[in-house]
């Protein structure tokens, strides 16, 4: 150390400080594509469009489908509903790796909502539709109240 040239050590140290500063900035910049990746990935991972699709189908068809009734059974409606439910369940499972199901008007005190008129006002009877979706990452459950569609008004 004795023979070492001691001149210009301040300049060397400032050089080091600037280098360290640039290194830190480079780390910050290198995180930017990583943020982009995780955002895009999580957007793709979240099954927004699938859930909206199922939900939209039920809202557009649902108000005509229910009418499941113990007092005035309509076997056509029940057949149709079971058909749609099983189509949805099997195709979701086989193509989208997701469990999808729905039910209309749960039983309450031995009666369907429709018969007991639980949800009703002076204008409509309402149907309760429960939607379930689970693809292992995202779980979604929703209860919808749909007014009974009446073609005669």
């Amino acid at each position: 150390m004795e023979t070492l040239n001691d001149e210009g050590q301040w300049i060397v140290m400032m050089g080091f400080l600037v280098a360290i500063g640039m290194f830190m900035l480079a780390i910050v910049v290198s995180q930017a594509p990583l943020v982009g990746q995780t955002t895009a990935e999580s957007v793709m991972e979240f099954p927004k469009n699938e859930i909206q699709d199922l939900r939209g189908k039920l809202v557009s068809m649902g108000s005509t489908l229910p009418e499941i009734s113990l007092e005035t059974p309509d076997s056509d409606q029940e057949t149709l509903q079971n058909r749609f439910r099983e189509d949805m369940a099997l195709l979701s499972m086989s193509r989208n790796n997701a469990i999808a199901n729905y039910s209309v008007d749960p039983l309450y005190n031995g009666k369907y909502w429709y018969d007991s008129g639980t949800y009703g006002d002076v204008f409509y009877k309402y149907h309760q539709i429960d939607i379930h979706y689970n693809n292992g990452v995202t779980e979604y459950s929703e209860s919808l109240l749909l007014p009974q569609w009446d073609p005669e008004g």
């Binding site: 070492l4 360290i20 594509p33 982009g36 895009a40 068809m61 058909r83 099983e86 195709l91």
Partner: protein, 174 residues
């Protein structure tokens, strides 16, 4: 005031050692992170959303009363894959008019329906497959849409009557 200039080299040595230790720790803790280029996922996400939106537009009926067939449902039931090709291509190509996008998306559409407990499928439509697309292409993105149709789809041997079929479209950039 006279500054004390002694021991500056030792200071530099100390700082250097500190930086080396920091870099080592940073490298060790970051080595668990697998890095893939972010760009690929961003364009995948955009293609996926484009596909879902195109299918949703085609599956919107003109009349909003319940159980009214959409244009897409009519195409599937009539097996009009050629119509689907024209319309879907048109939606994929849409741009604002101020920019010109690279028109290089290709697709392949398959219809899945249920027969008992078994899913069946048949090829519904596809874009013009250019030769370059056979040689090399980017990974395909899958988009799906449930379509309600009033009868059985074109292919024979399936259940008749009202049903939901799943339209799956693979989209890729050649």
């Amino acid at each position: 005031m006279v500054m004390n200039d002694e021991g500056q080299l030792y200071t530099i040595e100390g700082i250097t050692a500190g930086v080396i230790m920091l870099v080592t720790a940073f490298t060790i803790f970051n080595s668990g992170l697998v890095y893939t280029p972010g760009d690929a996922h961003i364009s995948d996400m955009q293609i996926q959303q484009l596909g879902y939106d195109a299918l949703q537009m085609m599956d919107t009926p003109a009349d909003s009363s319940p159980l009214y067939e959409s244009p897409l449902a009519k195409m599937i039931q009539g097996n009009h894959g050629d119509q689907f090709k024209i319309e879907f291509n048109d939606y994929l190509k849409k741009h604002t008019g101020t920019t010109e996008i690279v028109d290089s998306l290709e697709f392949n559409a398959t219809v899945f329906n249920r027969d008992g407990d078994t899913p069946h499928s048949y090829q519904f439509s596809n874009s013009t497959m250019y030769e370059t697309s056979q040689l090399t292409r980017e990974p395909a993105i899958s988009v799906t849409r449930y379509v309600w149709i009033t009868g059985r789809p074109f292919a024979s041997g399936y259940d008749t009557g009202n049903q939901l079929v799943l339209l799956e479209v693979l989209i890729w950039r050649r």
